[in-house]
């Protein structure tokens, strides 16, 4: 159960913020009305399918589409040759920058297939069955090439080379030869070598993780129509329809103004829907077929062809004094990027030590291309992987020092005024409170039995702000419509309605929220980086304040008093002018009814670029029991505490903590990409890619820490969506290691690995 003590301790009281109303889009979602990507149909619509490479790495010598085109019912076939060749260029899609040429080649292969599942051609036909049959008639001649998927193998000088144009960035001098190492990142402070040498206690470890998928349940889907005048319209589920618009325009080489994107409901993303796969192909097929084209991925395609996050190697050295003061940390990270540069190793470096105040450190990260699907963002990109290594090493250090793992983190924990390892000085953070609340939680004091273990870990995420638009309209009955440019992935419409209701002083039921298409609302960066409630919420609050100011002005006009003689309270304008003692308050409804006479429709749209998102800190504790004969792990208890600034809708904040914890438990115990000797994925389905099911988990207890509201946000909100997936990998691994008395360093902690570790311990 979530404990809300902290909110009671804060003086500020809100009418709506902090309550738990039913979300405005809820009924549509429990009745099956909500329309997701694959639910949309258009008159005259036809169906597309995509042909994908069976090879992990192959040169494409030729593609013969004639037989497919000759099949009755086939309306269009496209290959890489139907798309423009783009120059290498960084484009700011609103999230982590991506390279437009790489994105275009990832959408559909040109001269080489770089991973199994890489799209090589696509068809559109009058029925799904004909489209499927047509795929088998496309003849592609491949020259298979040696492939490499393991990150360290890919870094070797003699490794099969994916791209001849990659020369490692970030080195002292540009290398003479191309390689698979796209970039070196480095973050240094103090003299780590001297500090390690002088340390009274040292720990050292090598940790490894496998590629894992976001695992959203809704496969990618879109309907696209490209008319003869070059106007394209896309209906799709994504984390940002403005992102889809700009990326499609890039890949197709058309003007942004020629593409309109209407957002569908999105069935989960977790970062995986922050880029495009199907949309430009559907548009290209539609342009040729003169009909709207629907493309829907199978689950198999989602696993083989959309972005997982990196598998990685994390090497950690820590040095400390006997009293537990950490004096030195050395971290080296090697990340699979997939087929193109851009693994999250940069943010993994920046977050690796962010929870702690460490005077001397060196963090080095390597971004390495491999013959696997191009990685996409996944919830706090990179942070869970580096935290896995660092938080396990801290656990080992605590054991060596004979210290409680929470106390060790508390002694070295980040607090206001501490210079973060990634540069800036922290302010308004509540990491120490978060640790304290885990230490106080009853779960942390339940006695453990044989074969049981307890693990603790911490995690950090920056949270971001960014360009956002919110519009507020007053209907003539006085009810409100709020519009934003951000797809609602987890209940953000509830937060938007609540923040607007708070400003207007009206019941939240009087507020409707909508997410219009790219032509009907101002530009907004995508829904990601835990930015929506913070940044888009700011835009909605500012727009609401503008409308309230307008309402006060109109009331002043009606009363014939100065504007400063009008106050706004509980949804109505109040006249302060003693000379007008008889002036009855003017309600929102009353003012709306007179809008025509007082200046016309009442509305405001605010676009801003939100800055100063407050960082989030999470601390999790996990209890497990291990079956010593089978190595099977049961999660007994799980507690997630987090510095959330202030929870707008506590239920959905708790939901973020619980969902992040569950994904992290899956990552720790069972989830992994398994490739065969040819580099083909062996478990591209939910049967053998094992995400947690309901019976795998206990209730996930949450503690929302609200002692450090974000001063930049009108109601103190911080981003909450990403931090909760950072600690679980290490929290679970620390618990398992404690239960079996062996340090487990290679994820996932599947039963065979644990049984093998136990056998090795006996021997």
């Amino acid at each position: 159960m979530t404990d809300v003590l902290d909110r009671q301790q804060t003086e500020t009281h809100f009418a709506t913020v902090g309550t738990r109303p039913i979300r405005p889009d809820g009924v549509d979602k429990v009745t099956g009305r909500a329309a997701f990507g694959a639910d949309f149909v258009m008159p005259g619509m036809i169906w597309g399918r995509i042909l994908r490479s069976p090879y992990a790495h192959a040169r494409i010598l030729g593609i013969d589409t004639r037989k497919a085109l000759a099949l009755p019912g086939v309306k269009a076939v496209v290959t890489g040759a139907d798309f423009p060749d783009l120059a290498s260029e960084i484009i700011e899609g609103g999230e982590a920058a991506s390279n437009s040429r790489d994105m275009a080649v990832n959408v559909i292969a040109r001269d080489k297939a770089l991973y199994e599942g890489h799209a090589v051609a696509a068809v559109a036909a009058i029925s799904p069955a004909i489209a499927e049959a047509a795929l088998e008639l496309i003849e592609v001649s491949y020259e298979p090439l040696a492939h490499v998927i393991d990150v360290e193998a890919a870094m070797a000088p003699d490794a099969p080379l994916l791209h001849s144009h990659i020369f490692t960035e970030g080195l002292e001098e540009r290398p003479k030869l191309p390689s698979n190492i796209a970039r070196k990142h480095q973050f240094v402070r103090g003299d780590v070598d001297a500090a390690l040498a002088a340390a009274e206690v040292r720990v050292e470890g090598r940790y490894t993780t496998k590629a894992v998928h976001q695992g959203y349940i809704e496969p990618h889907a879109c309907v696209a129509s490209m008319s003869e005048d070059g106007q394209g319209h896309v209906w799709c589920s994504s984390q940002g329809h403005f992102m889809v618009r700009s990326y499609c325009a890039k890949v197709l080489g058309v003007e942004i103004s020629n593409i309109k994107v209407t957002p569908a409901e999105i069935g989960g993303g977790f970062g995986g829907k922050t880029t495009i796969y199907l949309e430009p192909i559907a548009l290209a097929l539609s342009r040729i077929a003169d009909a709207p084209v629907k493309l829907v991925m199978t689950r198999d395609e989602v696993f083989r062809a959309t972005g997982p996050t990196s598998g990685g190697v994390i090497e950690v050295k820590l040095g400390a004094k006997k009293d537990g003061t950490i004096t030195a940390a050395e971290v080296e990270l090697k990340f699979q990027a997939g087929a193109f540069p851009g693994s999250p190793v940069g943010t993994a470096c920046m977050t690796a030590l962010a929870c702690y105040d460490i005077p001397n450190f060196r963090i080095v990260g390597w971004d390495v291309v491999t013959n696997s699907p191009k990685t996409a963002a996944y919830r706090a990109p990179g942070a869970p992987i580096s935290a896995f290594g660092v938080e396990c090493a801290l656990d080992e250090l605590a054991q060596k020092l004979g210290m409680d793992p929470v106390d060790l983190r508390d002694k070295n924990g980040a607090r206001d005024g501490v210079k973060a390892a990634y540069g800036p000085t922290f302010q308004n953070i509540a990491f120490l409170d978060t640790l304290a609340r885990i230490r106080q939680h009853p779960n942390y004091h339940v006695p453990l039995k044989a074969n049981q273990g307890r693990g603790v870990a911490a995690g950090f995420w920056f949270n971001v702000g960014g360009e956002s638009t919110g519009a507020v309209r007053v209907s003539d009955d006085g009810t409100l419509t709020v519009a934003t440019g951000n797809p609602d992935i987890g209940g953000s419409r509830a937060g938007m309605a609540m923040m607007a209701a708070e400003v207007f002083g009206v019941p939240v039921d009087n507020v409707r929220v909508t997410v219009p298409d790219t032509q009907s609302i101002g530009y907004s960066m995508l829904t990601g980086g835990s930015r929506t409630t913070f940044a888009v919420g700011m835009a909605v609050v500012r727009a609401s304040e503008k409308v309230v100011a307008d309402l006060k002005k109109r009331a002043a006009g009606i009363w014939q008093v100065a504007e400063d003689q009008v106050a706004w309270k509980n949804g109505e304008a109040i006249c302060l002018d003693p000379a007008k003692a008889d002036a009855k308050p003017l309600t929102l409804k009353g003012l709306a009814a007179q809008s025509g006479r007082t200046g016309g429709p009442i509305q405001a749209e605010v676009s801003l670029n939100a800055q100063g998102a407050g960082p989030g800190f999470a601390v999790h504790s996990c209890d497990v029991e291990v079956d010593p004969e089978t190595g099977h792990v049961t999660v007994l208890r799980y507690t997630a505490a987090q510095d959330v600034g202030r929870a707008i809708h506590p239920s959905y904040v708790e939901g973020q903590l619980q969902g992040g914890a569950a994904q992290g438990v899956g990552w720790a115990l069972n989830e992994e990409y398994i490739f065969d000797a040819e580099g083909r994925m062996e478990n591209a389905g939910f049967l053998d890619y094992r995400v947690p099911v309901a019976s795998d988990l206990p209730m996930i207890d949450t503690v929302l820490i609200e002692t450090a509201p974000n001063p930049r946000h009108p109601f103190g909100a911080k981003g909450v969506g990403e931090a909760p997936i950072v600690p679980p990998l290490a929290a679970v691994a620390n618990a398992v290691s404690a239960a079996i008395g062996v340090r487990m360093t290679d994820l996932p902690l599947s039963p065979p690995k644990i049984r093998a570790a136990l056998d090795a311990k006996k021997a």
Partner: protein, 289 residues
């Protein structure tokens, strides 16, 4: 899915001729394996014969000898809800009820699970340990065969063209006899068995094990009836020595592969662990009857 003919015959003979009509014809019972394989293009039958309307294919009857006749296309959910079957053959029922989710239970059948011929089929070790017999119908008429003779290798069965399994026969269950099935999976549900073990045993009046049958799944190309493992239990009261002998016999019978679901070493060790645990459960159940 590739195109095919769908037929739902209402008699055994129609079903046989439909199956005989095309060499690639396949029987559809619950479809929880067949439809997945057809979607993936792994099988492309010209004809799909839905046998659920064939008399006898669905339902559970008590046989004259006190045993059971179970329609091969009867869903796992129906087995679990039967008035007496779960009491008399708890191992057979719990094995069938471990196949997939609640949703899959609504469709998946013993016949489909057996004839899909996966070495990891959960219900097969339970049936083999129970000494269940298949009633097979085909162009050559009706024949009976022990369950362990049906699977010949992964994906292949000993059924002849036009033949299909219509029913399973389970022997009558005396007092002080019971069975059990256990499997090891990485999660708690929804996985394919890494190892499965079924034990059926009967106690003599002296409380000693008079008869015992042990079957293992997912440790060889087909589910195994492990004679020496059963023999290790007979004559004892499940003391440490006989459990150790059972463990050793189970491991000795293993001929598994390394794959995405488990290693040779792991599967072999777990076969012994599960054999011991499942024998203990079956013994306790037998004593309680």
């Amino acid at each position: 899915m590739a195109q095919f003919n769908y037929v739902a015959p209402s008699s055994v003979d129609e079903a046989i001729s439909a199956l005989a009509s095309a060499p690639t014809a396949r029987v559809l019972a619950g479809g929880t394996d067949l439809i997945v394989q057809m979607k993936a293009g792994r099988v492309r039958p010209a004809t799909v014969v839905d046998v659920k309307r064939v008399p006898g294919a669905v339902g559970i009857q008590k046989a004259a000898d006190g045993g059971y006749v179970i329609g091969a296309a009867t869903s796992g959910a129906v087995l679990g809800e039967h008035a007496t079957l779960p009491r008399d053959w708890p191992g057979v029922v719990e094995a069938a009820n471990l196949i997939g989710s609640t949703q899959v239970q609504g469709r998946a059948s013993l016949g489909g699970n057996l004839c899909n011929a996966s070495p990891a089929a959960d219900s097969v070790p339970g049936l083999i340990a129970a000494r269940a017999v298949c009633v097979i119908v085909g162009p050559a008429g009706r024949r009976e065969a022990p369950v362990e003779t049906i699977q010949v290798s992964p994906g292949r069965t000993s059924l002849q063209p036009g033949e299909f399994v219509l029913e399973f026969r389970l022997p009558p269950r005396p007092k002080r006899a019971s069975d059990a099935y256990l499997r090891l999976i990485p999660r708690t549900e929804m996985d394919i068995a890494v190892v499965g073990a079924g034990v059926s045993l009967a106690l003599g009046d002296d409380g000693k094990i008079a008869e015992a049958h042990v079957s293992l799944g997912a440790v060889a190309p087909t589910s195994l009836l492990v004679g020496p493992a059963g023999a290790a239990l007979v004559g004892g009261k499940l003391d440490e020595a006989s459990l150790a002998a059972l463990d050793a016999a189970a491991r000795a019978a293993c001929n598994p592969i390394d794959d995405k679901r488990g290693t040779i070493d792991y599967r072999t060790k777990i076969a012994g662990v599960l054999a011991r645990r499942v024998a203990t459960i079956a013994y306790a159940r037998a004593e309680a009857r």
